[in-house]
Amino acid sequence: MKFDTPAAKNPIDRLKVVGKATDRIDGPLKTTGLAPYAYERHDKVRNPAYGYVLGSAIAKGKIAAIDLAAAKAMPGVLAIVTADTAGKLEKGQFNTAKLLGGPDIEHYHQAVAVIVAETFEQARAAASLITVNYARATGNFDLAALKDTAVKPVADGPGGKPDTAVGDFEKGFAAAPVKLDALYTTPDQAHAMMEPHATTALWEGDKLTLYTANQMIAWSKGDVAKTLGIAPENVRLDSPYIGGGFGGKLFVRADAILAALGAKASGRPVKLALTRPFMFNNTTHRPATIQRIRIGATKDGKITAIGHEGWSGDLPGGGPETAVNQTRLLYAGADRMTKTRLAVLDLPEGNAMRAPGEAPGLMALEIAMDEMAEKLGIDPIKFRAINDTQVDPEKPERKFSQRQLVKCLELGAEKFGWDKRKGPGSVREGRWLIGMGVGAGIRNNLLMKSGARVRLNQAGIVTVETDMTDIGTGTYTILAQTAAEMMGIPIDKVVVTLGDSDLPASAGSGGQWGANNSTSGVYAACMKLRETVAQRLGFNTTEVDFADGKVHSGNRSIALGEAARTGEIVAEDTIEYGDLDKKYQQSTFAGHFVEVAVDAATGETRIRRMLAVCAAGRILNPKAARSQVIGAMTMGVGAAMIEELAVDKRFGFFVNHDLAGYEVPVHADIPHQEVIFLEEEDPISSPMKAKGVGELGLCGVGAAVANAIYNATGIRVRDYPITLDKYLDRLPPVA
């Protein structure tokens, strides 16, 4: 189905199932421990051998010699694979560094060997006996020191154009009566999903099956084939349950390739999980940024010039963190510019993490807006409203399909009690300094083609099949809701099968595009199924209604399953898009509100209240969508206050590579969270009239926290995370 004109009224608009807060259909399996994750496929693979990965102890250089003799002699060891014995391996299209290093080492903890043994304990013990002699080379690990060596990255890379300009920014900024010119930094961050990257690999002749944890099945099937030099039709990936991804499982990682190599070498199925302390340096992370923001405005608060420059680093051949992109769209202003620059670093591979670009970009921009509002003496919400734009500021003929940012902020202000906010450092409750902060969020709606197959049997059960994944986002449930709505049946008459590369290729889970596109794919397949059903039942296809488990036409009603009486009906289709995303800017918006309390003596900051107001098209399942948003708000608190991969700039690795060192929010850190979704349908987006929320929920949260800390203390910190050592010495004297 080609979606190239705005959606008219369609069967989803009935909203009998879609749009209703619905418990996850995978809930009973997940809460009882019966949902099988990649390392647990006892249902498919009996008696696997165990793989254990050895990582490089240096960040850059060569392996001079590797001695496997002691390890090989250990009881239970079946095979050891290194670059010497792996055969020729290509690099995947989506990988920057090789997944098996040697003799050249590109980053710390790059895999250098996989040990396969009868048991996990044997494999781990044998790994400790491998002797590697490295020739260490000098590497570059310090972004701040290398900022001036950063170059313009390849144009039209994944993040768009590295340089943009409208009008004359320098002139406009110079002439502005009120100006801000500030530098902000965000650190390297880790996805730190709860399920480590894991794969169980099984060879049957030339055919390889990987039970793996992966967000993007079609991409990754291709990259497994490319890396191993085998035909894509000989590769199958199966990923029905994924223990979190956040971008960290978008791509094929070492677990998949090394499990496959280990299985080949040992002649046994192999299961392999990366250990927690290995994940942080072996896999990808969100790169650190340095950002300069300049805003010029008239005295009455109208932005006349806005400029955002961002610097980040990555391995040779890698890409930038596109932290400036939202600044092209979020606020009006005649003279504008953005600039993205990329340095070469020899740290582990930088790549996408939840809301890549916008998450760190808004952490900076939305502090800058707060600072500017204060300079102008205008309320931060009013300042944002003054500078709202309903069109793409770079191309005024291009409207936003929907843009309710101001309503998000104003409704949020009302619900949060924003009118009680006072000037910086002026509210105190006992030992606590109290502050409120706001941050605006924007995240674009990306359209990706997405396929699905639906089957109807005589019992009236509809089965949805697609390689789409559920990484905690609630895909199982919204696909079931979509099929139920389309076919006029209750949700318990729908079965959903996900994550298998033998099924139609979907949009996959990333960039908050999963929900809108994958449900639209199911919509398309169901439209075909409806046609076939009507034909089988002898109905004129234009005058049928699917409701209450029946097909109605005129005064005739027949049970849906009757259409499949002579055999199962199968329909398959793919949603594809025209140019509505070129004609219109499609984005989602949020207003994030945070209240903090800062201990006047110790500087300890506690989050007291959080509210997000989101406008993101039709909300397909308000229950799971709310969970996406509160989860993102939680991640935003982590980013603002505690999360930072500490770089050892001498040896080139992330020092705090476990969950005790890399701190993420825990229960005690997070209070009750509120989320409001504005009424919105976006017929420009898709037949579902939906968009996404999973990344929007993170966009703007960090700055809202930062602004709340400023409001509480009067101390501005522009260097994330805002740990107390950065402001303790500036707190008012303790009485």
Binding site: T32, G33, Y37, T473, L659
Partner: protein, 210 residues
């Protein structure tokens, strides 16, 4: 780069580092460390899991977590970090929650172990499992069994009068408050960030029984 300010000896790294660092990153090329005896010792152990007696002959290095997951097919208990930092492996042993990754299986002779599979099934959910579904107290589901085992134990610990770091008094009966529950649940990390919903699920269950 200037390495002079910090030139660790390999021995220094090994002594100061965690076991995992020594295992995976330190080139043992000069073999300064005496190689450990790494042959497997097999020992028998018997314990009760979810009311059923289980007898195993295990490599003594096997954690309780791996005994459950790899030897008894009870994969509901999750391995998130394998060293006591995340709580995904939480099980209830003799009425007390523990991190099953931090204890060897052979240390549990005669113990009674309850895992997520023992709390309830899809057909007959434990009230806490049902409350997690009702309040959407999970997303990816990977930390969920540990959260639920902890949640059940936390309510029990409060009822039994065990104080926590945030209890106002060490001797008074602690109350089931949001603050008490959040403090006691903080060993169970949820990166999806379902905390607010988990707290509501727990309050729901606590209220039902109160």
């Amino acid at each position: 780069m200037d390495f002079d300010e910090f030139t660790p000896s390999r021995r220094g790294v090994i002594v100061g580092g965690a076991v995992t660092v020594a295992v995976t990153t330190v080139p043992a090329v000069e073999a300064q460390v005496p190689r450990k005896q790494t042959m497997a010792h097999i020992e028998k152990v018997a314990f009760e899991v979810n009311g059923k007696r289980r007898e195993l002959a295990l490599d003594t290095r096997t954690t309780l977590l791996d005994a459950l997951r790899e030897h008894l097919d009870l994969t509901g208990t999750k391995k998130g970090c394998d060293h006591g930092q995340c709580g995904a492996c939480t099980v209830i042993v003799d009425g007390r929650r523990i991190n099953s990754c931090l204890t060897l299986a052979v240390m549990h002779e005669g113990d009674s172990i309850t895992t997520i599979e023992g709390l309830g099934t899809p057909e007959k959910l434990h009230p806490m499992q049902a409350a997690f579904i009702r309040h959407d107290g999970y997303q990816c589901g990977y930390c969920t069994p540990g959260q639920i085992c902890s949640a059940v134990s936390v309510l029990d610990e409060i009822r039994r009068g065990i104080p926590s770091h945030v209890s106002a008094s060490l001797t008074d009966q602690p109350q089931i408050t949001n603050f008490e529950m959040r403090e006691r649940m903080s060993g169970n990390i949820c990166r999806c960030g379902a905390y607010s919903n988990i707290a509501e699920a727990m309050a729901d269950v606590a209220g039902e029984k109160a």
